[in-house]
């Protein structure tokens, strides 16, 4: 049975449209113009326990809006959402105890106090038994190598350390569903890799579902077997990561190494591969030939660019 089920979800906002210049501003004072912006438009999908799904799309695609709706922060304009059998909007305590939302650079810890204080507060807020708290805290702190900074004011932590501390705070209560919104944004390459490794290990050792949004394709490629691609509020693709290539890439890459050692690369239509390779083999002094798929990062960037 699915842990997350989204059925024809639509979420619109009303925004004020500003007229140009000072006279426009004055007119806005008297007669403001409002327009509806549809952030998420009639999307449906479901997620099973233990799945780690990548939710990807360009800026303003509706990823965060979807995550916020699934967390119960936003009220859907239409459609229905069910998370662990709850309507998120009801924000029942049993629901809130079973989920966690981590949002990239947005700090959820108490800024002026050490992270350990925020952890202890979460223990009390989520009614975590002392033994479970200690066990989870020890495990998470060790996995994320955070022991040395637990007593340091959150404001004094580096971005990477803060992100790790956010993850600890979000996972202490063993959530069944974890929403990760850009967890590696702004981190350096090493820290990104550490956070990614942690998410992977955590997913393997826990049966909860994880929904991840990220701008870094490396996150998605390394972590997610399934991706949902969203653009302008609509789902373009929902399926295996490997399927993205066959669906969106019309080309393959043909790489040839010539006898003099130089390398040539051709981007060839899938339907013309046999014809083109035989022509290359016939025309050029080829010592080796390699046919491969276009990198998934590139394909997805193309998909977004087209939209």
């Amino acid at each position: 049975m699915s842990v997350i089920s989204v059925d024809h979800l639509t979420k619109s906002y009303q925004t004020q449209k500003k007229r140009e210049g000072l006279s426009g501003s004055l007119r806005d004072l008297i007669n403001p113009i409002y327009e509806d912006k549809t952030a998420v438009n009639d999307i449906s999908f479901s997620i099973d326990p233990g799945e780690l799904v990548g939710f990807i799309g360009p800026n303003g695609a509706g990823k965060t809006t979807t995550l916020k709706t699934l967390s119960g922060l936003l009220y859907p304009t239409s459609g229905s959402v069910s998370v662990l059998g709850h309507n998120p909007w009801d924000r029942k305590n049993t629901f809130l105890r079973s989920i966690s939302l981590v949002m990239g650079q947005k700090n959820q810890l108490w800024w002026d106090l050490p992270a350990s204080e925020s952890f202890a507060l979460n223990r009390d807020i989520y009614d975590i038994p002392e033994s479970t708290y200690k066990r989870n805290l020890d495990t998470l702190v060790e996995m994320l190598d955070l022991g040395s900074v637990l007593g340091v004011q959150v404001r004094k932590l580096s971005l990477g350390q803060r992100m790790k501390a956010e993850l600890v705070a979000a996972l202490l209560h063993d959530p069944k569903v974890l929403f990760l919104d850009e967890p590696t944004i702004g981190l350096d390459v090493t820290m990104q890799s550490q956070v990614r490794k942690f998410i992977k290990t955590y997913n393997e050792s826990h049966d909860g579902a994880i929904m991840l949004t990220s701008h870094y394709m490396a996150d998605v490629v390394e972590l997610c077997k399934r991706v949902i691609i969203i653009s302008e509020g609509s789902i373009l693709y929902d399926g295996a990561l490997s399927g993205v290539i066959s669906k969106f890439s019309s080309h393959k890459i043909v790489e040839v190494i010539l006898e003099d050692g130089t390398t040539k690369t051709y981007k060839v239509l899938r339907s013309k591969i046999a014809e083109r390779t035989s022509k290359i083999l016939h025309d050029l002094p080829v010592s080796d030939i390699n046919i491969k798929e276009v990198a998934i990062e590139e394909i997805i960037q193309q998909v977004f660019a087209k939209k």
């Binding site: 936003l74 809130l96 939302l101 002026d112 106090l113 009390d124 807020i125 009614d127």
Partner: protein
Amino acid sequence: MKKYLSIFSITLQEYFVYRLNMFMWRVRQIFVFLLPYFLWRAVLGGGGDIYGYDFGSIMTYLFGTTILRSLVMGSRTVDLGWMINSGLLTIPLMRPLNMFRFLLTRDAADKLFNLSFMFIEIPLIFLVFKPPVFLQTDLLILLYAVCSTLLAILIYFYINIIFGSLGFWTRDVWAPRFLLMVILEFATGAMFPLDMLSNLWQKALLWTPFPYLLFIPLRIYLGSSETMVYLLGQLVWVTILSLLSRYIWKRGLLRYEAEGR
């Protein structure tokens, strides 16, 4: 319950991080008392009375409002509009917490913080200026005064929720708040005793919740013959504002956009 105790404790810990802030805030509180003190001393220090208030009774009034202000109007809920607009509200909303209890707990921490310092400042002011004040000794009246103060705290809490909830509809939360602050200074009786006003004004103001924040609790402390009517008035306002704030809050949440977060 434990969760709210922890929130109470962590809110207080937050205050102690900024020592200079803490100190300056206390200095400000002393000035809040001193400014009207010197004003009234200039007017009444030489003897005589105005609207039945001599220097001693006006000092008692000032002393009372200074203490009551810290208790009633010390609040963290004043930040609610900003929390909504900045998206900071997302953090408590995502936790298994009752939002009103969460906000009230933060208010309680603020009030305790204020009160603890009042024990240092009040004797200090007393020693330096030796103002003539009336100390109530009737235990029943003191009990009524405590009840009235608690009701005043709730009235102010709900007013803040209502004004803060404006943040769900507009980004312009500061102007309404400043307007409220000006109204509060005047209509609560913080600047001068409201019975200095004409009967008509007094009666009109009593139809608003504002006098029930400072003026009425102080009247009750001083032993008013209308204590029960006043307490009933406070109860009515608590009920009206509580229902109204819950209604507005529920409507507002539907519009929450969790921006910036």
